[in-house]
Amino acid sequence: MAERPEDLNLPNAVITRIIKEALPDGVNISKEARSAISRAASVFVLYATSCANNFAMKGKRKTLNASDVLSAMEEMEFQRFITPLKEALEAYRREQKGKKEASEQKKKDKDKKTDSEEPDKSRDEDNDEDEERLEEDEQNEEEEVDN
């Protein structure tokens, strides 16, 4: 079943929560307005992706990275997002680094013990990759996406 990009919505519950926290107490939002915002958020991601991809292509890269997205924000005139996004990125990197070190530590501990085969091991190895390879998924997805 081919899904149009605009139909890929972000979960309503999360969208509603974000809206409610952004607005003062006691303010409500109609269902129509909420679903319009949700749709707008999807369009935003699609548009930002497209802009970011342009920057990646300019840099002759095939992989979108964080700085492409930040450049896209600037291009889209959402400069006010750039600082909070940079902070979030720093926090995210720290967290990823922490996880990586934790999983490496786990591995070391595992090696010290007599090892029992754990399915999670392969997942930990995946965590070590900084870049997410979409290629594997794309091979599966090609049947679904009607382009």
Partner: protein, 118 residues
Amino acid sequence: MAAAAAAAGSGTPREEEGSGGESAASQPQPPANAPGARLSRLPLARVKALVKADPDVTLAGQEAIFILARAAELFVETIAKDAYCCAQQGKRKTLQRRDLDNAIEAVDEFAFLEGTLD
């Protein structure tokens, strides 16, 4: 940090598409044990699905997906607040669809939304 852990640590956003969204919708409020580092509430799997929908995109790094998710959150906050200003002028306490339309017309940055929400 339950939200970040659920979104990134459990491995669901990497390979699976559908399950990531459902689990995010039903998860409880994340504990505020990391002040200011509420990394992302939007499920990375869904954001990744949107990114992959673009036929020109070859690959996207994990960080890029994360930043897009966070940017989308900021966007939702921003547009909600801007729409609320319109509702306030009407002295209403419920945001309506027309408030959103007004905000989109009034704010230059939202011009890309024109015609997309119908």
